[in-house]
Subunit: 180 residues, 2 copies
């Protein structure tokens, strides 16, 4: 760990937890309303006991048809996916699924603000990568291109997200600069 990093590093917290904390802060501080979507579940069998809550007895995880997070910021539609990688020098595209890209392309077409939040845990750095920078990397992999995005490209095309005590992944500030 570099000595120049501040003491209140977000190490130890998962990216999802940091974003959840940030979203809650944004809600309470009246900055934005962003929620994580529930994991979609295929329910097969439910028990209805007489005097207590229904119990799901058999269910399966389904592929999500969208990204994980969406909501509203300054009237605009916000949509993003968050991914953490232990990889040092690139972000493997296998972390993302085709249906998530399809969804982001759809939203992008309708002028939603779409992006990825990518955390390189080894560097303890988290980047916001606008979807329109990401799409070409995704599409190129099917035309003989590489199966990952170099760390240096993300550094160059993305924006490093500042860590603040309350907004651990302070993406709203970056959206101000990029989209408004």
């Amino acid at each position: 760990k570099s000595k120049s990093k501040p003491d209140f590093s977000n190490r130890g917290m998962s990216l999802e937890e940091d974003i959840a904390a940030t979203n809650e802060y944004y809600r309470v501080a009246n900055i934005a309303i962003i929620h994580k979507k529930p994991t979609p579940i295929q329910i097969v069998n439910v028990d209805y006991p007489k005097r207590s809550a229904a119990v799901i007895k058999e269910a399966y995880f389904k592929q999500a048809s969208t990204t994980d997070f969406n909501g509203v910021y300054r009237g605009r539609y916000i949509d993003f996916e968050a991914k953490e990688t232990k990889n040092k020098s690139s972000f493997p595209l296998s972390n993302i699924h085709q249906h998530q890209i399809d969804h982001m392309k759809d939203c992008h077409k309708h002028e939603g603000i779409c992006f990825l939040i990518i955390k390189f845990s080894v560097h303890d750095e988290t980047y916001l990568l606008p979807a329109h920078h990401f799409f070409p990397y995704w599409d190129d992999q099917f035309n003989g291109g590489r199966k990952s995005i170099p760390y240096n490209d993300i550094k160059a095309r993305g924006v490093l997200l500042p860590f603040h005590y309350q907004a651990r992944v302070d993406y709203a500030k970056v959206l101000d600069k990029l989209y408004f």
Copy 2:
């Protein structure tokens, strides 16, 4: 059933199914991207069999902390809840939960487009009621006001949603008039 109604009535389909079909049409026809959020589930016990998919063995339904539908239309954030009632002369407020109102008030504050879609199954009529018309009825019930919205008020303040074969609950057209 009134004789003036067209043959391809949506009777028999649930409001949720009609909205799902509409959303799918909007997506394919490149009109809007709106999805229903998955039902939130509290997972307690999961089995990981050796050669097959993980099976959820015990789980419970959780209260949703948001509304059912959201997405993007013409760059704006869209958020709504859909409710069907068999009541003839009013919409009982007990159909809606406080946390759904809190969420809609939050989104409304951030300039999202928020509304209810209310179907009176007896009349075979479906209305879009903008959230800012709904909020006063909600708040008044705690100050001695009535616990339901009169059908006639919804008729007066809401907009009757047209039924089309592909867009069974064609709310996008109504949003054009109300919000753009």
